[in-house]
């Protein structure tokens, strides 16, 4: 992350959430979508993104497919069934975590 190290521990949640909404995405698209949604606040470093994508793929949470787009080979990432379940679970946990944080910081 470029701007805020607080995002660091949530990178996996962010990637899974984006994939659950967009169905399939490629690396650069993930970084740009996160940046766009947070109006430039969240800038993922590529060096953090790709090792994590490979780890998630190795864990069977996401899968990849290579497609030829305009003469270029592009690697897309998709959630697996296991990944979809994990994403739903992590989203619930994250919402509860954010709710609790908000409660504390609102006092």
């Amino acid at each position: 992350m470029k701007k805020n190290s607080l995002y660091k521990g949530t990178l996996q949640n962010i990637i899974l959430k984006l994939l659950s909404k967009e169905v399939k995405m490629y690396g650069y698209q993930i970084t740009q979508r996160a940046k766009e949604l947070t109006e430039g606040e969240l800038e993922m470093t590529e060096g953090a993104l790709y090792p994590l994508l490979h780890k998630l793929e190795g864990d069977g949470i996401i899968k990849s497919e290579v497609q030829e787009i305009n003469g270029r080979n592009r690697k897309y990432y998709l959630l697996t069934d296991k990944g979809k379940k994990q994403q739903a679970l992590q989203e619930d946990e994250m919402k509860s975590y954010l709710f609790n944080l908000k409660t504390i910081f609102d006092i």
């Binding site: 690396g27 650069y28 590529e46 990849s64 592009r74 690697k75």
Partner: protein
Amino acid sequence: MISVEHKKEIRDYLLSKKLPLDILMELEDHFLTQIDTLRIQNISFKNAFDEVKQIWKEDLKLEKAYNGKEIAVFVKDTKDKEMVKIFRKSFFVFLMMNAVVFMLCMLLEKEVFSEILPVLIMVLTSIPAIHFLRYINNFNYVHQFKKIKLNIFHSSNAIIILGGAFQPFLLGKYGKIGLQIYKGFEQNSLTGILSLIIFSGCVGLYSYGFFIQMAFMKSLRKMKLYLSTFNL
């Protein structure tokens, strides 16, 4: 639109970072898209490429790997994570093998155990060999790419050969080792326990090589489309 010359410049830059092809394929597309995006803002190719190189500077910095060869920081990070995961799996095999042999020692007579152990060794040895023979064309295909690694698992097959080299030794010395293992549990002898650890360690090492072989094949299957159009 990026010209063929500029594409070559990008590829040459990525090749200079000693990236394996599966990662190169992904980063090449990333670089091209990133440069395209910058060029929409009327930035020249040279400036856009320099800017992207700057973004990636730290991640593509070359450092020494464990084998003394140069590797990009980012690739090393990815490879280390994968290898740790494979190591954990093979360590589990090591532990399981200890448990299986322990159970066999407890349940079987010495003579029956003596019959079963070589069968177990041969079955375990044949699994990676069958896998290799099944995909032999793919493994041979790799020889076309001598100057570049196809993925992070390329050239790791030496481990399986190393692990496999112990198998004839174990089979040849089986009588003694089998007996030592059995005695180890019967009499709590240190030599017996050590024999079991050596046996399970070889199986663990062999499975480490096998898991790498499987990961290599999985990655290779995904790269087929790319490899069909790839020219250095």
